[in-house]
């Protein structure tokens, strides 16, 4: 750490957290924050109990309920969900861990509440038994998802044995055109490098188009790094980051704040650092992206058509494309804008923050959603929900004909009752369009919040440019 010249941001963070490094063994890395939820933790707590091990740092551990929780008022009626939620509460009580349950004002999707509470800060190592932990990298943290064995490991030791990641720079040049946002950037990145392109790498997003993004936008991008196979994504902290953090409940104050900001300003990739891989994307050329298939790399620009599987590359890729089209009930050559949807989902750790809701509400204000389309708006956290209600966004959604729900993961992964029916088609602001992800045989198109809102109005995959100021509810341009 004495000489950090020629290091990337990820390498600096790694070096700052090495507890022990021995040739031939993985480095032992210290973990600054461990986020816990009900799904991937019960077996880890069982493991501690079996061995009689305590939680080493309950003060660096926070639990919340998110994956399973119903987003409607009332008790949890699903018995297995209730058992799992009760297990988390009991485990947290036993091991002395702070726990935000349903109804708590700090409850919400684990990747939404960390930043919102100011617990997610630059320069930290953050883990959670959830692959979308990469979200927190937006603050210049090294944050990644882990499995249940690793959850147990961190609970017991506050460390993880890990091999260093390789580093990849993803530079987004220029200024984004109107109507194009963070979601479109990351869908374009995944389209470019594929679902396995980031394997073994930490992705560092940089360049003018990234620097111009809000923290919410940066979180959206880092969130989906895992869909490109990368465990982590990062953005170097800057004034936008500091402004977001200042005054949040867990942010440093007074002299601590000054010391922290001084340290955070050092968290930049050195000019002479070398990445293991680099790609450059021209932000000016981007337009809204939507997926047509069953993995997040199977996407096109909204103005394009469903691709012909024969153009998909090698035999395996063609086979995968054909299988995806069959599953999705789509034919090659169909313009994406002609694809009608049954449902729209606005929410998730990818796009369930206040900025996402504001953007969608601005599009829906004074409009109504198309007949036959149901739209679910699920805030990412209790605090996001309260903020939206303060701003009157809930009424905008309700007036448009959407459902306004309580916070949780909801239809992103369909563990709670919010699910698609077989063959139901959904424009979703979430992160995965895998087979059955949103409900058995459900069909998912990943989209940005802007596309989700415009699609809800027109009933077919659309962007805000398809709407006229006086657009009729039925979508006059169809």
């Amino acid at each position: 750490m004495s000489d950090t010249s020629g290091m990337t941001l990820a390498e600096k963070l790694w070096a700052q957290h090495v507890v022990r490094s021995v040739d031939g063994e993985p480095d032992l890395l210290y973990i600054d924050l461990h986020l816990v939820h009900e799904v991937t933790s019960p077996q880890a707590f069982d493991g501690l109990r079996e061995k009689g091990r305590p939680v080493r740092r309950p003060d660096l551990t926070l639990a919340t309920e998110d994956h399973n929780v119903p987003t409607t008022l009332g008790p949890v009626t699903d018995l297995t969900s209730r058992t799992q939620l009760e297990a988390l509460k009991a485990n947290c009580d036993e091991f002395g861990i702070v726990h935000h349950e349903r109804g708590h004002r700090g409850q919400g999707i684990v990747h939404v509440i960390g930043p919102e509470l100011g617990l997610t800060q630059p320069g930290m190592t953050i883990v959670c038994g959830d692959s979308h932990t990469s979200t927190h990298g937006a603050f210049g943290a090294l944050a990644f998802g882990i499995g249940t064995s690793e959850v147990e490991h961190v609970l017991a030791t506050q460390t993880l044995p890990l091999r260093p990641f390789r580093t990849m720079a993803i530079t987004v040049e220029g200024t984004l055109p109107d109507g194009v946002g963070a979601k479109d950037i990351i869908l374009a990145v995944i389209n470019r490098i594929g679902t396995g392109g980031g394997q073994g790498y930490v992705l560092e997003y940089r360049g003018p188009a990234i620097e111009a993004l809000s923290m919410e936008g940066r979180m959206t991008i880092c969130n989906m790094s895992i869909e490109a196979g990368a465990r982590a994504g990062m953005v170097a902290p800057d004034e936008t980051t500091f402004a977001y953090l200042r005054g949040r409940p867990h942010a440093p104050t007074g002299a601590d704040w000054d010391a922290a900001v001084d340290a955070w300003r050092q968290l930049r990739t050195d000019d002479d650092a070398v990445f293991d891989a680099e790609i450059v994307i021209d932000g000016e050329e981007l337009s809204p992206y939507v997926t047509w298939g069953t993995n997040p790399a199977q996407s096109v620009q909204l103005g394009q058509s469903v691709p012909d599987p024969q153009t998909a590359g090698d035999d395996d890729a063609q086979d995968a494309a054909r299988r995806a089209l069959t599953y999705m009930g789509l034919e090659a050559g169909t313009p994406m804008r002609e694809i009608g949807v049954d449902a729209v989902f606005l929410g998730s750790c990818t796009n369930g923050r206040i900025e996402d809701l504001r953007l969608a509400a601005d599009i829906l204000r004074g409009r109504t959603i198309a007949p036959g389309v149901r739209m679910l708006v699920v805030p990412g956290s209790h605090a996001v929900r309260q903020q939206a209600e303060t701003e009157g966004l809930d009424q905008v959604f309700l007036d448009a004909g959407a459902e306004w729900r309580l916070a949780g993961c909801s239809m992103c992964l369909g563990m709670n009752p919010d699910q698609l029916s077989p063959e139901e088609r959904c424009a979703s602001t979430s992160n995965r369009n895998f087979e059955g992800r949103q409900g058995a045989r459900g069909r998912t198109h990943l989209v940005s919040p802007a596309v989700a809102a415009a699609t809800a109005v027109r009933g077919t995959l659309s962007s805000p440019v398809d709407l006229t100021p006086t657009d009729a509810p039925q979508g006059a341009l169809v």
Partner: protein, 199 residues
Amino acid sequence: MEPFTTHTGIGVPMRRSNVDTDQIIPAHWLKRVSRTGFEEGLFSRWREDPGFVLNTEPYARGSVLVAGPDFGTGSSREHAVWALQQFGFRAVLSSKFADIFRGNSGKQGLLTAELDQGDIELIWKQLEAEPGTEVTVDLPARSVVCGDVTAGFRVDDYVAWRLENGLDDISLTLQHDEDIAGYEQQRPGWKPTVTAAVD
């Protein structure tokens, strides 16, 4: 963890790329709070199709899964590893594994052997030509034998050492307790704690 040195069992060809963990074990199976009982959930949506490979003999008795590239992408759910193991799999062969899945497998004693795609193709052909062919996976030798096909594979040396000896990661780390305590001493005081803020 049960040590892994060599294993011989029926190979199951799965000619699909991007087999994500939502397919390996759909989310509703994740509500269980125990570590057992996941075998029924393994590929449960695909198993609704009677022609799916695991629904047919002799593959239903298979223990070495031979999969396409990018196996185990998506969610971090370790339940995917438990489901594969509880169904009877001891090893998965692929040319490319998702990082978290590979890590989870290593913790649980499921071997993820990385082969060249050309060798995977040869093994697929062998298994399809003679269903029921056994595959021998030799971890110390880093080799796979299936009929006439012999291929090398890659695996992290440290993971291999732990698998061969059946060692528990947490016990190994706890031997370095002093290093951890020493590190904690020099962490900056302004780093956040969960309990410090007014709740």
